[in-house]
C-alpha cells in the first residue's frame, strides 16, 4: 500500500487542523493548566464528539464511521501539535479498542455507543510499577460464584479522575490476563490523582476486594493476552502519531526561531553549528513520518507484523522526540527555559508520552526479541 494519505484522510487532517487552531490552540492548554490543572474542557470534548472523531474507529454496526486508524492517527497528530487535552486517547483508543474487540455482546452494546457519543467515558488501568511491563501483572481477579473479586493497585491511569469506569487488567485463575469493566462507583475502590510533568492528571486506583459480575469480563477465556497485546500496540501507535505532531510543531517553532533571532549582528540560523544540527533533526523526522503512517496502516490492515511496527514506531518516535525537544530548548536559548513561551510545554509533555506504553528501551528490546536476537 502506498505510504500516503488518500483524499478523505487528507480532508480529515485539514479539518482537524482548522478546528483545533480555532477551538483548542496551545493557549488553551496553558489556560487549563493555570486553572488548577484542569484535565480537559467538557465543552470542547462534546464538540470533538460532534466532529465525529470518537466514531472514526467504531464499526458501522454501532453507527460508527469505520474510517480507520490512519484517520484517527491524523487527528492524534493534530492534537499533538496543539497539545489538545481531551479523553480521546483514554476513552476511544484504549477502552474503545478493548470493547470493539470484545466478545461480550452485552458490554459492547451498552458501552460502545456511550463512549462514541461522549455520554460516558472509560479509563484503562494496566500499569502497576513505575515502568511499563504488561507481562508482570500482579492484580488478581479470582473467580467466585457470582463473578470475580479484584485486588490490586494500578497507576498511570490516563484520565482516570472522573471516569465512569475502568477497563482493568488482572491475572485470572487460569494464569492469563483478563480484562474487566469495573464501574467507578464499585465498593472497595479508592481513586487518587497525581499531576505529572505534562500538567496532565493521572490516577492511581486501589482495588480492595472489589466484586464484579461475570458479565463484566470483556473477553472470553484464552483471548485475554491477545486482546491486551492489541490494545498496547494500538496505544503505542496512536501515541506515536500524537508525538509526531508534537515533534513537527516543536521543530517548526525552533526553525522559525533560528530564522529570526539575531546575535552578533546576524541571524543565528546562519551558524553552521546550528544549521547542521537542525538538518539532522529534519532527517530523523522524515523517518518518523514514515513509520507512523506505516504502523497506522498496519492497524487498519491487521498486519501480521503489527507487534514489530508498533515497537518500531514507539521506539523511533520516543527517541526522536527526546532529541528534538532537547534541541528545541537549547536552540531557543534562555527564553526556552521560561514559562512565557510554549516550547517548554512540548518538552514536558514529551517526557510523559515517551514513558506511556513503553519507552525507547522497552520497544527497542521488544523489536530485537521479535526478530529472535
Amino acid at each position: 500500500m502506498a505510504l500516503i494519505l488518500n483524499e478523505e484522510q487528507k480532508m480529515l487532517k485539514d479539518s482537524a487542523n482548522e478546528f483545533l487552531a480555532m477551538n483548542a490552540p496551545v493557549e488553551q492548554f496553558r489556560t487549563l493548566r493555570d486553572n488548577n490543572y484542569q484535565a480537559f474542557d467538557e465543552e470542547l470534548w462534546q464538540e470533538i464528539v460532534e466532529m465525529g472523531w470518537t466514531a472514526l474507529t467504531i464499526p458501522e454496526e454501532y453507527n460508527g464511521l469505520d474510517f480507520g486508524y490512519v484517520g484517527l492517527g491524523q487527528v492524534m497528530e493534530e492534537m499533538g501539535k496543539s497539545l489538545t487535552k481531551a479523553p480521546l486517547f483514554s476513552s476511544i483508543v484504549l477502552a474503545g479498542t478493548a470493547l470493539v474487540n470484545s466478545t461480550n455482546q452485552g458490554l459492547k452494546s451498552t458501552w460502545i455507543p456511550a463512549l462514541m457519543n461522549g455520554t460516558k467515558r472509560l479509563a484503562f488501568a494496566q500499569d502497576e510499577q513505575s515502568y511499563f511491563d504488561p507481562s508482570n501483572i500482579a492484580t488478581t481477579a479470582i473467580e467466585t460464584a457470582e463473578g470475580y473479586v479484584i485486588n490490586g493497585h494500578k497507576k498511570m491511569v490516563v484520565d482516570g479522575a472522573g471516569a465512569d469506569g475502568f477497563v482493568v487488567v488482572a491475572k485470572t485463575d487460569e494464569g492469563e490476563v483478563g480484562l474487566f469493566l469495573v464501574d467507578a462507583n464499585c465498593k472497595g475502590m479508592a481513586i487518587t490523582t497525581e499531576v505529572l510533568l505534562d500538567a496532565g492528571t493521572y490516577a492511581q486506583v486501589e482495588f480492595k476486594d472489589v466484586n464484579v459480575g461475570s458479565s463484566q469480563r470483556i473477553c472470553e477465556t484464552g483471548k485475554g493476552d491477545e486482546l491486551l497485546n492489541l490494545i498496547n500496540n494500538t496505544a503505542a501507535i496512536c501515541l506515536a502519531a500524537e508525538m509526531l505532531g508534537m515533534i513537527t510543531e516543536a521543530f517548526g517553532q525552533t526553525v522559525a526561531y533560528l530564522q529570526e533571532r539575531q546575535q552578533f549582528g546576524k541571524r543565528i540560523g546562519t551558524y553552521q553549528a546550528l544549521q547542521h544540527r537542525a538538518a539532522k533533526l529534519f532527517c530523523e523526522i522524515e523517518l518518523c513520518k514514515s513509520i507512523v503512517i506505516k504502523a497506522l496502516q498496519g492497524l487498519d490492515e491487521g498486519a501480521v507484523n503489527l507487534d514489530e511496527l508498533a515497537s518500531l514506531a514507539k521506539a523511533k518516535l520516543g527517541e526522536t522526540i527526546k532529541i528534538v525537544t532537547n534541541e528545541a530548548m537549547q536552540m531557543h536559548g534562555g527564553i526556552g527555559v521560561t514559562d512565557d513561551v510554549n516550547i517548554g510545554f512540548y518538552f514536558k509533555r514529551a517526557r510523559v508520552a515517551q514513558r506511556l506504553f513503553g519507552d525507547y528501551n522497552y520497544h527497542l528490546d521488544r523489536y530485537a526479541r521479535l526478530n529472535a536476537y
Binding site: V255, E286, K294, A315, D365, A368, Y373
Partner: protein, 393 residues
Amino acid sequence: MKTALEDFRLETRKWLEENCPASMRTPVKDSGDFFWGGRNATFQNEDQKIWFEKMLEKKWIVPYWDTKYGGGGLSDVENNILTQEMTRLGCRKPIFSFGISMLGPALHKFASEEQKMRFLPEITAGKTWWCQGYSEPNAGSDLAGLQTKAEDKGDHYLINGSKVWTSYADKSDWIFCLVRTDFDAPKHNGISFLLIDMASEGVSTRPIKLISGKSPFCETFFDNVKVPKENLIGTLNDGWTIAKYLLTHERQMIGGVGETDVRRELHEIAKENLPLRDGTLADPVLRSEIAVQGMNDSIFEMTIQRIMDEAKTGVNAGALSSFFKYYGTEQNVSRMELLTAITGSDGLVWESENEDAKVQARLFCRSKGNTIEGGTSEIQLGIIAKRILNLPS
C-alpha cells in the same frame, strides 16, 4: 487494468525464473562482481554473459527508457514490478553503468534529440563505459571552483586541466565533464557540461590507490585535448544546472535508493558468530547497537518508499536527494562498523588464501568514502539547512 498488471507480474516472474542463471541470483561481494560493459567489455564468467545478453534481448538493460533509445518502454508501475520481482529472486543488475544512473537522466533532460539518438542507444546496449569528471585537486566540496579550462577554438574546444576521483577512468570509454568556459563570470555561471572521448589524444589517467587496497578512482589529465563542439550538452556556461541535476541522481545512487541487492541481516550474522544466552545475543551493548541499526535501516527503507509515493502525486522531492545521500551513507558506514565488530578478528583479514575471507575488511575500508564522495555529509546537511529549512546564509 489491475489484471493486466497482475499478468505482467506473473509473466515477468516466470521470465526471470527461466532466464536468470542461478549464480546471478547470489549477492554481489564487491564491485569486481559487476559487469561494466564498454568497448572492451569483459565478462567475469559465462553466466554473467548469458544474463546480460538475455536482458539485452528483452530490452531490459534500461527497462524504463523509451524504445527509440533502446529502452524497454515500461511504465513506472511496470518498472516497479520488474524491480520488485528482481529483488524477490535476488537477481543482480545485468550491468553497472554510470551512463544509466547518472548521465542518462541528464541527457534526457538537457541534450538535443540528435545527441540523445547518438549517446543513449550506446548506453542501453552496454557499449559505452562512462565515467564522471567533476572534482579537481582544488575543487572538492567547493565543486563550482573548478579550473579545468575549455577554450573556444572555432570548430572545437581545447581542454587543459585535470580531474580527480574519476571512477574507473582508466577503463572508461567516455567521460562527462564539467569545464570552465568563462573565467570572468561568477564561478557558478562560467561552467559547461562536455562529453569527451577518453581515446582522444592528450587524455591520460593514473589510478589512485585507496585504503581498501583497490583503485576504483583515477586522476585524469587533459593536455591540449580537442573536443568537437557538438559534444557540448545544454547551454554554454549553464553547465552548473546540469551538474546539480545530475548530482541529485548520484546522491540517490550512493544513498542506495532503488537498490535491489539483498543484504543479510546483521542480527543473523551476529547469531552465527557470537555467544548466545537464552537464545539472544549475550552481549547486551552490541545487541542494542544492532537493534538501533535494524530499526533505522528498516524505517529508512519505508521512507524511500513514502517519498517515492509522494513524488508520484506531484510533491517535489528534488531537495530530498540530499537527505537520501546523507542518511543512506551514514547508515552504510555504521552498518560496516557494526559488521566489523560482529565478525571480530575474522572481519579484519586482509590477505588470505581464501579469497572470500578478505572481502569484508576491504569493503569496510571502502565504506569510509561513502560519506565523502558525491558531496560530503556536511555538504548535504548544508543543502538541507538552506534549501529545505530555509535557514539564512
